[in-house]
Symmetry: C2
Subunit: 144 residues, 2 copies
């Protein structure tokens, strides 16, 4: 994330949290990936679960993610056999992980995640390794 | 690969070749991955096959890869559900992909790949997508 020191710091924090939880994480290069699609911010796996992650942080406002970014994330995830997740980090909150299908979309298709939705529908890092909680994501009705 | 412009150029070339062959590739960041293990140089997948790749190039001399680098590669590959491959590039040769188990190891455990071995045991980029040729790797006897 060039020009976004806080986002960059948050992303390193995310990588460390994933490593602490037993995942092997890898960040995307900052730029120059030489292919046209946008890459995930982080990929990780623990031998059982693997994720391609788009990470966004916010002081408190809703977090918006362009639909094209999510499309690219899902494409890459599918190509690598990983699950696509949006990781959102509000100040004084843990990272919350959401499946794109569980997120609200605006009329233009943009993904919008507010803190209450992140809390109610998201999983924490440590829950990413648990199959039962993992399954939860698909079972919940979509809320805003 | 800081301080290695040619290696860096070769690695970008590899990423482009993989993309041309239908893979979604991602390079590791140049540094600052924030975990202790070394990351693969490139990971890629096409929805069917996925690889974690350590890439090395040489003008003509044998290519040596530390056993620890390969151990880290195999660890990461296993965590992400990918196959570990050593990609070697000699001047005026295509990239050759070898499974670590098919490579000669020196007495100290270092992997050593000479051009004739790369040619006889390696797969080309386009062969990485073919199941039958893929299986070849495991069937060949180890040669030096």
């Amino acid at each position: 994330m060039p020009g976004n020191p806080k986002g960059d710091r948050r992303e390193r924090e995310l990588v460390n949290r994933l490593a602490d939880a037993g995942f092997a994480p890898m960040r995307a290069p900052a730029s120059g990936s030489s292919t046209e699609r946008e890459l995930p911010d982080v990929i990780c796996g623990n031998g059982e679960y693997g994720y391609a992650i788009e990470a966004k942080s916010s002081a408190g406002d809703p977090i918006y993610i362009d639909s094209e970014e999510v499309t690219d994330l899902q494409y890459f995830a599918e190509m690598l056999g990983l699950s696509a997740r949006l990781a959102v980090r509000f100040d004084r909150e843990p990272w919350w992980f959401l499946a794109p299908a569980d997120c609200h979309r605006t009329d233009s298709g943009t993904y919008r995640i507010k803190l209450p939705a992140a809390r109610s529908k998201g999983l924490r890092v440590d829950d990413l390794t648990g199959e039962s909680k993992q399954a939860r994501l698909g079972e919940l009705d979509s809320i805003d």
